[in-house]
Symmetry: C2
């Protein structure tokens, strides 16, 4: 029997529509639970970093004047940067204070109000842990949380969502030392599960639809009792030199 | 009402277990249809490149002797390479004849029999188109096909699946020029939908379980009547210099 019928062996990726516009100080957990009251044990909640940035007040007020806004954006990128990796015209690929390597340090003027610019959360793993704890406290349910952001990839076209914060599951699943069904030793198989979850969630969220949260249901997340090590451990350092 | 109840607004990602070991010349479409007879219009079939390589005979017979096998693997990598991008010890990051930049040119000795090494399909977009056509011919159903492979990502830990061949959907969805709900112009939003589909499918396939195919159901793939431009167009050239 295939996974297409019979007992559900696959996963569901479900958007959480209907969330209100978020502002600094808002209760993100409450708003998610209002729109997704059916959250269940083992669900993975994937939250766009922009939503986290908004409630955490990681917004910079700028002039509505395009030139001034761009100047403020460039200054914010500089402030968030610890190292410039590459430049192409006005575009900077940088390492952020989180150890993330990405365009414009994650500083972004989309899906925010005119006259505002969003920065990434200060500590995305901490944001994920707090949200997970708040949901457990209010509902008794143990979910995992992934804070996602869109990134370009060197050598690939297009952007895809990856995990910048994780709580309650292993960001990278280490299968090294295990054997495939032919007996071959797996050497390179550290799977970036949290990144794949973020990518899956992006298929139903969408930047234009304004849906910042999705739920992945049915994945065996390993039954973490604790938060796990987060997305920052092991640090996202270069694998290629 | 949230996406977690009521009408299904999300997607399902379903493994296709039970497939037989594939050998050169085998009928991949027939084997998939045997194990996933419920394939429906609009489904996205995500097939691990290894399965395609096997039926297309992209296997090299090697000695079972580890040293000789490694020598054959290194030779195969050289043969598949048009340009070496980076080296770290014995590891080569290269550009393949497809224009893909990846470790070891996709040459892989996992999930193949002892004494064999797998190369990537010669033309993964062509493989995807053929499989799509065969399924349409035999069932009358219009599915999209993604041929996936695992890749490391510079500056990120772990591997994630991406699309190396695509038929029946847009590999990259170009949203540039559209506006978010705040009226901000989207500048960077070319979304690598096929890569996100490959990543989602990997969550239920798994290298150790030996499940090479998954179905993504419920995604609006844009109702392609034709194959589309594939994963190789636009070519996967460096975005960062």
């Amino acid at each position: 029997m295939s996974g297409l019928d019979g007992p559900v062996t696959g996963i569901a990726v479900l958007p959480v529509p209907g969330m209100a516009e978020l502002r600094p100080g808002d209760d993100l957990a409450a708003e998610i639970l209002r729109c997704a009251p059916e959250l269940a044990d083992g669900d993975v909640l994937v939250v766009t970093s922009k939503a986290v940035s908004k409630v955490e007040g990681r917004l910079i007020a700028t002039s509505a004047d395009p030139a001034e806004r761009e100047q403020a954006r460039q200054q914010a990128i500089s402030d968030e940067t610890v190292r410039v990796i590459a430049r192409r015209g006005p575009l900077r690929i940088v390492e952020t204070r989180h150890g993330l390597v990405m365009a414009a340090a994650g500083v972004d003027a989309s899906n925010v109000a005119d006259g505002e610019i969003a920065l990434l959360p200060v500590d995305p793993d901490g944001s994920a842990r707090r949200l997970r704890a708040e949901i457990a406290e209010r509902t008794g349910r143990q979910v995992a949380v992934v804070v996602s952001d869109s990134m370009g990839r060197p050598w690939r076209h297009g952007i895809a969502d990856v995990a910048i914060g994780v709580a309650g599951l292993a960001a990278v699943q280490d299968r090294r030392g295990e054997r495939d069904r032919y007996g071959n030793l797996l050497e390179m198989t550290e799977v970036a599960v949290a990144d794949e979850l973020a990518a899956a969630a992006d298929l139903v969220k969408g930047k234009l639809a304004g849906i910042p949260v999705a739920v992945v249901r049915g994945l065996d997340t390993g039954g973490y009792a604790d938060d796990g090590r987060g997305a920052a451990a092991p640090p996202c350092r270069p694998r290629w030199s």
